[in-house]
């Protein structure tokens, strides 16, 4: 038997958390070192897994399968394809960065790091699980540590934000649970035939045997669960609260990884499992995505709190992901997955940068700053770089991803000929044109923010602020380097994503 690298990757953080529980409360340094080394080991394992992964192949690889509850068709099934592999890597990278940045935490250190590692287990688990039961377990576990991270180490309104986050996402999850069970019963006539295996379910397309109303209801149940997590308009209202109140590292994980669970669910489950319903719903999903993009950007522009601005910008950027998925063609979906990766890098940087300034100034009011460029030149440079990445400057990853999404959306609206071969015409080119407005708005609020915070008169109140230190720079550097690398040379990342996308679409349309 081969080394079960995906299981190792999933449970290693859990083991780290258990070790931390055994370390005495006072030994902060030992706890931090354990957390960091566990997380670093995970990143190394993720890289090893990616090296063992064949980028040119579309299906699932590194699969692990074992009996679990055979009476109910539940198995322990894990595997990665070109979509989940980058996400697993991203999760390990962002978690390591978050844990490294958390070195400054002084309060209840033991619980803090144990919860972060538990969160990492849950997120990796969601990306590698190929059995609905397993998937759902990891999906739900991810809520619990986040609730405590926001609630214990968060800002002034943390209790409200934490419970709101938990309740909101749970509403979606329980609807998904109903959907999962309905699909399970539709997957076979006798208990022995039924299965919870996602790959097997996609092959059997159980939704086609359901009554039309019920099939659509199941689809909507899944979609709401994922749309809440993304979050897509109109299910986004938990996000600004959760982000503003969460501690910096919590925001980084929330924006960098947890939001991706939603869009990952759409591409892994919603679309391939119920393609007919997806095609019916695609224009509406596209409209929701557009509203998210425009509304998120406009709302970001109106914010006076720097962290809230970044939170709303996430809603806008994640709108591109849903838009690309709604296009349901290779470019659109690949662009969406690329955007997930790229947004994970960029938004993590942005939240880290907000954390850096908040740590020093203890305020986040954009208008309270001014002239910081002279006081903190290095910080200024880094911020400019990340802001440019966020607004989609060419040669940085955001540009490539959004370009792909727009191309896919446009093609989905104009490829009249291909529609006869199965690639349905889902949207009009106007979707692409409208989305471009969002890019312009993003540029506007990002530049305006840079101007208000860094330009202008030097504010004497902040004259004593120290520039960004080496720990913070070390946290940011790998994310920025990857942003630049993917922006200049997206090939290595796009290859597995496109292979997986074509595999999914090929299975659906027989092309």
């Amino acid at each position: 038997m081969e080394f079960p690298i995906l299981s190792a990757l999933t449970y290693l953080p859990l083991v780290g958390a258990l070790i931390i529980i055994c370390i005495p409360r006072e030994r902060d340094e030992a706890i931090k070192a354990t957390a960091a080394s566990t997380s670093a080991l995970c990143l190394a394992l993720a890289i090893l897994a990616w090296l063992a992964f064949d980028n040119g192949v579309g299906g699932f690889q590194l699969e692990e399968r074992a009996e679990w509850i055979p009476q109910l068709g539940i198995s322990y099934h894990m595997g990665v394809d070109g979509i989940s592999m980058p996400m697993v890597f991203l999760t390990c990278l962002v978690s390591l960065v978050a844990i490294a940045y958390s070195w400054i935490v002084k309060e209840r250190v033991k619980e803090y790091f144990a919860l972060f590692l538990l969160l990492q287990t849950a997120c990796v688990g969601v990306f590698v699980a190929l059995d609905f039961f397993l998937f759902y377990i990891f999906w739900e576990i991810s809520l619990v540590p986040m609730y405590f991270i926001i609630g214990v180490w968060g800002g002034p309104k943390r209790e409200y934000a934490a419970i709101k986050f938990f309740l909101y996402t749970l509403v979606g999850s329980v609807l998904m649970l109903l959907g999962i069970i309905v699909l399970y019963f539709a997957s076979g006539d006798s208990p022995a035939e039924r299965t919870f295996d996602i790959v097997e379910l996609i092959a059997r397309q159980p939704a086609t045997s359901l009554a039309p109303g019920l099939a659509m209801a199941v689809f909507i149940g899944f979609f709401i669960a994922f749309a809440i997590k993304v979050p897509s308009f109109p299910f986004h209202t938990w996000l600004p609260d959760a982000h503003v109140e969460a501690p910096t590292a919590g925001s980084v994980i929330l924006a960098g990884i947890l939001l991706k669970l939603g869009s990952y669910g759409m591409v892994r489950i919603n679309m391939p499992l119920m393609p007919e319903e997806w095609m019916v719903a695609a224009p509406w999903i596209g409209v929701l995505a557009l509203i998210s993009i425009i509304y998120g950007s406009l709302a970001a522009m109106a914010q006076s709190d720097l962290k809230k601005l970044i939170a709303y910008s996430s809603i806008g950027h994640m709108g591109f992901v849903t838009l690309g998925l709604a296009a349901m063609n290779v470019q659109g979906i690949s662009g969406a997955v690329l955007q997930m990766f790229s947004h994970g890098l960029i938004t993590s940087c942005l939240f880290l940068l907000v954390g850096v300034i908040y740590e020093r100034a203890h305020i986040r009011e954009i208008n309270g700053f001014g002239g910081l460029g002279q006081i903190m030149p290095k910080y200024f440079g880094v911020f400019i770089f990340v802001a440019m990445a966020s607004l989609g400057l060419p040669a940085l990853s955001g540009f490539v991803a959004e370009l792909y999404v727009l191309l896919g959306t446009y093609a989905s609206g104009s490829a009249l000929e291909t529609s006869t071969e199965g690639f349905a015409v889902l949207m009009s080119p106007w979707f692409a044109y409208t989305a471009i407005i969002g890019i312009v708005l993003t540029a506007a609020y990002m530049l305006w923010t840079v101007q208000r915070v860094f330009m202008g008169e030097k504010n004497e109140r902040w004259a004593g602020l120290k520039d960004i230190n080496s720990l913070e720079l070390a946290c940011l550097a790998p994310l920025m380097a990857l942003t630049l690398f993917v922006g200049c040379y997206p090939g290595p990342l796009l290859r597995p994503i496109e292979a997986a996308t074509m595999h999914i679409l090929g299975a659906l349309f027989g092309t």
Partner: protein, 495 residues
């Protein structure tokens, strides 16, 4: 008659308690608590084995060779042995987590309390196994009378006495309703055994009296289960009774009555109008119990009252499984799985409360502020039990809820059917329940403590929490064997 071992063991444990009560001493009480608890938990494992044995051909033979007076009164089938295992488990855990409470909070008559709990657990076993009306009546009364006495055990505390009186008056009234229903059934059919009643009414044309009688019986069971609208006693009794007794009452009688409900109504009244009547009452009873239980629990400031209302909601979830008994084979398996999950998580939650109040003498939700600093063990245990009670994975409550949803979907769910709305109510109620379970957890972790003084956890109650934690965690991970045992036993029941 090896199938009777659980009942006999409980009688023995209870009798020893009464003997000890004649000459009580600290040492004897301690030995009795520990040994009785261990014996019952060991007995639960044995009962689990009996349940397994009864599914085999050899086991069935043993059951058939039982003397007539036994085989006509008690169904010694796998389903009843599963609930006997539950009864022994409840009894054993109650013994163990009562240890410190009895030593510190009660001045005298401690062995009697445990003995009565053992007798009540015996009533649980027979109620879940009863196959004719007199045995049902006897079991219900045994459970009830024990319950009245238990609720009054803090005899100097006004609230305890009030609780007992309230429990007694309402309980007696509901018993009368039930007896009235039983007498009608007997009068209409001339039979006392459930199968006989079914046969006597199989020809149809049963008039309105049989459905009426079935509903009257349902009032009695509904009272034991605390199904809305027969739940009024529940919060006051739970608040007033000594906390270990509350824990026992919230699990024991409830589960036994649910098992009896499933058996009695699906065997005796499977025919048209009577079936429509009891299924209709259960449908609305389930919806109202879930919704009202959770909604009112949101507003409670006393943690025992909160758990009282939450237990009403849990009864509602289990009533969904009872509601579909006649429509799917999975229903009884779902009920059994949920019953095990509920036992571990609810007794665990109560054990946390007992450990806390042993030290602080307080049950107000507010006093739990900052518990995470004062006792991480209690706080994290509460998180686990709370999350399990909500029904989140990977814990026992999740498995239970999945089973209930599966049983309901297995009936051939269609768009817009009443069952679909029932399921939607069920899952949305889980979300509502998150608010108060995790809200208390939020107090423990997010609020500053009143004092920094640690809360010591006694050995007995700490062990009970540990057992419940293990049960809550292991039910999903070791789900394969547990499910196959329960599933095969549930298939045998309707004989």
């Amino acid at each position: 008659m090896i199938y009777l071992i659980p009942e006999l063991l409980l009688v023995l444990v209870g009798a020893i308690g009464l003997v000890i009560a004649c000459a009580p001493s600290r040492e004897r009480l301690r030995a009795y608590t520990v040994l009785g608890g261990v014996a019952c938990i060991g007995g639960a494992v044995g009962a689990g084995y009996l349940a397994h044995l009864a599914t085999t051909a050899e086991g069935a033979q043993i059951a058939e060779s039982a003397p007539v007076y036994l085989s006509t009164t008690l169904a010694l089938d796998p389903f009843s042995r599963v609930f006997a295992a539950l009864a022994l488990l409840v009894c054993g855990l109650t013994f163990i987590f009562s240890k410190e409470y009895l030593e510190r909070r009660l001045d005298d008559h401690q062995p009697e309390l445990l003995a009565i709990i053992a007798f009540a657990s015996m009533g649980m076993c027979t109620l879940a196994a009863a196959r004719e009306l007199i045995t049902i009546w006897f079991s219900v009364e045994l459970l009830s009378v024990c319950g009245y006495v238990l609720a009054a055990f803090l005899k100097d505390d006004e609230r305890s006495v009030e609780a007992a009186l309230k429990y007694f008056i309402l309980g007696a009234t509901s018993s009368v309703f039930m007896l009235f229903g039983l007498s009608y059934v007997y009068g209409l059919t001339g039979r006392l055994d459930l199968v006989g009643i079914m046969e006597a009414t199989a020809g149809g044309n049963i008039g309105v009296l049989l459905p009426t009688a079935a509903v009257l019986m349902l009032v009695g069971f509904g009272f034991k289960v605390a199904m809305v609208p027969f739940h009024m006693w529940c919060p006051d009794v739970y608040e007033g009774a000594p906390t270990p007794v509350t824990a026992f009452l919230s699990v024991g009688p409830k589960l036994a009555a649910l098992a009896a409900l499933a058996r009695v109504f699906s065997i005796a009244f499977p025919h048209d109008t009577a079936r429509v009547a009891w299924e209709g009452v259960l449908f609305w009873g389930a919806i109202l119990s879930m919704t009202l239980g959770n909604a009112v629990a949101l507003k409670q400031s006393n943690i025992k009252r909160m758990l009282a209302y939450s237990s009403i909601a849990h009864a509602g979830y289990m009533l969904v499984a009872v509601f579909v008994t006649l429509q799917t084979d999975m229903a009884l398996a779902a009920l059994s799985v949920y019953a095990f999950a509920y036992l571990f998580m609810n007794l665990g939650a109560f054990a946390v409360i007992i450990a806390f109040s042993n030290h602080t003498r307080s049950d107000s939700v507010r006093s739990y502020n900052g518990l995470a600093i004062r006792s991480p063990y209690l706080a994290w245990s509460w998180v686990v039990f709370g999350i399990s009670l909500v029904g989140l994975p990977p814990l026992a409550g999740f498995l239970g809820k999945v089973f209930i949803i599966m049983a309901a979907v297995d009936t051939g769910l269609t768009w817009g059917s009443p069952l679909m709305w029932l399921l939607i109510v069920l899952v949305l109620n889980s979300v509502v329940s998150l608010y108060y379970y995790i809200g208390v957890a939020g107090r423990m972790f997010f609020k500053p403590p009143v004092t920094d003084e640690p809360v010591p956890v006694g050995g007995g109650v700490g062990t009970a929490i540990g057992i419940c934690l293990a049960g809550t965690f292991l039910m999903v991970l070791a789900a394969g064997p547990i499910i196959s045992a329960i599933q095969s036993s549930a298939l045998f029941v309707l004989r």
